[in-house]
Assembly symmetry: D2
Homo-oligomer: 296 residues x 4
Amino acid sequence: MATIGFIGLGNMGGPMAANLVKAGHQVQVFDLSAAALERAVSAGAQAADSATSAVKGAQFVITMLPAGQHVEGLFVTGDTPLFDAVESDALIIDSSTIDAETAKRVSAVGAARGIDFIDAPVSGGVGAATAGTLAFMVGATEAQFERAKPILEAMGKNIFRAGDSGAGQIAKCCNNMMLAIQMAGASEALNMGVRNGLDPAVLSEIMKQSSGNNWALQVYNPFPGVMPNVPSSNNYQGGFAVDLMYKDLGLAMDVSQQSGSPTPMGSAARALYMLHRKNGTGGLDFSSILKFYQEQ
Amino acid sequence: MATIGFIGLGNMGGPMAANLVKAGHQVQVFDLSAAALERAVSAGAQAADSATSAVKGAQFVITMLPAGQHVEGLFVTGDTPLFDAVESDALIIDSSTIDAETAKRVSAVGAARGIDFIDAPVSGGVGAATAGTLAFMVGATEAQFERAKPILEAMGKNIFRAGDSGAGQIAKCCNNMMLAIQMAGASEALNMGVRNGLDPAVLSEIMKQSSGNNWALQVYNPFPGVMPNVPSSNNYQGGFAVDLMYKDLGLAMDVSQQSGSPTPMGSAARALYMLHRKNGTGGLDFSSILKFYQEQ
Amino acid sequence: MATIGFIGLGNMGGPMAANLVKAGHQVQVFDLSAAALERAVSAGAQAADSATSAVKGAQFVITMLPAGQHVEGLFVTGDTPLFDAVESDALIIDSSTIDAETAKRVSAVGAARGIDFIDAPVSGGVGAATAGTLAFMVGATEAQFERAKPILEAMGKNIFRAGDSGAGQIAKCCNNMMLAIQMAGASEALNMGVRNGLDPAVLSEIMKQSSGNNWALQVYNPFPGVMPNVPSSNNYQGGFAVDLMYKDLGLAMDVSQQSGSPTPMGSAARALYMLHRKNGTGGLDFSSILKFYQEQ
Amino acid sequence: MATIGFIGLGNMGGPMAANLVKAGHQVQVFDLSAAALERAVSAGAQAADSATSAVKGAQFVITMLPAGQHVEGLFVTGDTPLFDAVESDALIIDSSTIDAETAKRVSAVGAARGIDFIDAPVSGGVGAATAGTLAFMVGATEAQFERAKPILEAMGKNIFRAGDSGAGQIAKCCNNMMLAIQMAGASEALNMGVRNGLDPAVLSEIMKQSSGNNWALQVYNPFPGVMPNVPSSNNYQGGFAVDLMYKDLGLAMDVSQQSGSPTPMGSAARALYMLHRKNGTGGLDFSSILKFYQEQ
């Protein structure tokens, strides 16, 4: 079993750290929120009084932060850069969803000092974080990936190596852009069918068994009442917030712009989420885009 | 076994009629093309010298025509309307992909004369037509549907009742709009990933096992070389032509306009297919939209 | 002075007929609405008891109807086709905004019988119809155009020959698609500027004097309070209704589809107007698209 | 007359500096390119051997650089920050087109040290830079604006105060997004008209005199042959490059994302320019988007 420093105990980081504890690891945690820290301690983690303390003696460091500037600040540009504090043979696994450019830049700074920093953003939301069934999309060398894998398996089910440094962030970005496109598309098709007299459950079933089949129709139907236990059947509470999808589509636009990759469909999806969001729906699940198609 | 009149023996109609013969039905066929007629006769059908002759004595009449004007012309507005010629207790099954308004109008004309006319467009392409594994999306009463089902099962695998008259065309329209959206989306995501250094097969696998999963990634990957036996691995030959997707997206725009159903994503997909098509790609498989994203 | 049959006395047709009277013509009017007919009579026109009576003895026939089916019904497919009733040397000027295909078809039917039927849709709205300052976009031969021009000048200021039969409808369609695109674009740019602290009047002025200049900013600013006497400064009352712009964008999609002309921007504008319209805004002026960008 | 330090002598900066010389100012110039420096000297400027030398004794400093990172590097984060070198009472005018966030950040750093730094991006292209008819969009206090105005008038015709720090960049961003939207829209409308048989010059004239009127149709028609002396009539050589419009639309996406301002039309325009650009057209004038609509 390993000693793991874990920094960032929000909605995702909290249950992820708890799963590491369950798997028998010694987990040294830090977060700016005292409440978050307390919850982790209740789950069996050791509270540290700073990020620097959390990484002391740790073979692995896992970070789960909101954006690229926080990751770069923590490791490189802040007052007490964590690259100065980590053990020389530690493997740093950043599971934050951030822009690939920052991920690569921080990794390169680490590499220049002989420190391993890999990107491993997750897919699956709070439910999967709690159940330990997240998907990890990893940007790392083969060797780094093999070293990280057993640790990640305590928190997730599908662990993919997407490629070298930054590739995890790119894969996450591509996947979530695809997700936004097909959630908007499914909402649009269902709304048009229903306006023309079709039953949403019948139309969903037809598309699922035809070439219109996708993840939204399979496990996350946006039309209220078609599926139990999904946000659409619970007033779009819980799940993956519109605001987070908006953030991810912004990252996709950055990747698109930097690499000259045309994104007409992703751009259209982003525009829809922005128009939807200005009506005060930022906190609803992202499948609430269906409501945006309906008469008010 | 039944006597079936079959009119329209093109790429789809030909193999569909052949499967009815295989199932033991007596199939009376007609087409304006002598070559198409001859192929059907080789498969065991009886050639008729006109549409009127083909429906004589038939309990079922199946039509497979290019557009709404052909269907309305054949049954209602032409010189020898087939509604004057069909047996009074025949069930007419129109498997053409046409606009729902025309389907409903023709059905209403039939109903006023005591003739049953239902819409049953198909999904699956030439391969499924030949293999007898088409999906049928049927707009009909429950009773009409039950009567048609055994006949359709000789040609298809999934037989859905979408709702009353016209609902089959609406379901087909919604499904194909969804398909265009996710094929364009998958192409866009894969192209962006590859431009950022990812392997298309690896990225496809990651999305398939995540929330980006859809039919295009599962069975019809648009990136050359990721899957064998799909059009993208055969220079986009065969499959479902760009020109046909363009036609179907035009039908979707009509349904959208007539019913006041917003279609931002379907409109964006149609725009892409139109821009792609003007480069002389109308005859390629519709997954060739990936090429439109790539540098020329 | 001429004898003119005028059919269709709605918001546009009424004042147009009145201007013909003012110019000294004898105007024989017909409309299904008794109230509309009465208003025209007050303005000096002669009421007819049917369309057939209205065109009796008229050298010119002008029609102003809602859609292609009405025009085709009136002249060709209805119970008493007007092509049977018009004087053999009359010039028929259809000022309705309809699809170019129908315009060309009706004109061809007329031509086969030696009757001149030209398309001459208008631009400018109710205000310009009343002031006699409409723009006419005419699809006609040179000779037909020269004959129509003096009559049209009694109702409008700019009289353009766009080309042969149908070209007037195409020009109108292109112009109104351009208008929708730039009205949405101006609203989007102004909203973004204002959200970033700019004054809408200052930003409007800057764009008007730069490369962002367009008709919307010049004479029809969508931001409330920037200009007096425009719909945006009167709660978007009056002007050109969202529902009419939606109809015109539908015609543009038809032209696009029939001619294989890509319309990514027009499609995006149509999607926005459809999304806006489902919130019960169909009767507001089309510059109300600005509201759709704002927080609710 | 004033002493002015001018840094950045590219296609725009070169002629701008020359116009300052013509107006009688003493202009101390610097650029990394020796050729650019030499051209400025031929025009009457004094060459400096570094940016630091160029600003020595200058009451005004003007910069014309490619992107935000260059501006921030030059004044704040580089090895020899220019904020350490400028005269304490100098007014710094940054005419680069950069993101508003960077403009505001650099201005705030300057303000904290008592140094005036304002944003004043330009509109009008190389032609206007040479002719001294640029538009300047200025983000500054009233007092800063009044001080800058006489200097800017030596290089431009329309000098606007858009608002406080950053507002010039926002205004430029909004204007250029509007420009991209209407250039793409005009190209789309003209292409559709021409595919339906209309003459591009006739259709342009009709729209110019109707509600479709805009800057593109007035002075920069994208259809070859309609206007002399515009890039479209010269194989899209010269003018404002596709690559620069692509850069500006990227800045617009950033502003949109940071401020939560929906940009469906701007996003659609950006998607078109990206798709166009991947065909190797980055160096053509941006009105070449018309070619992207045409059959290849």
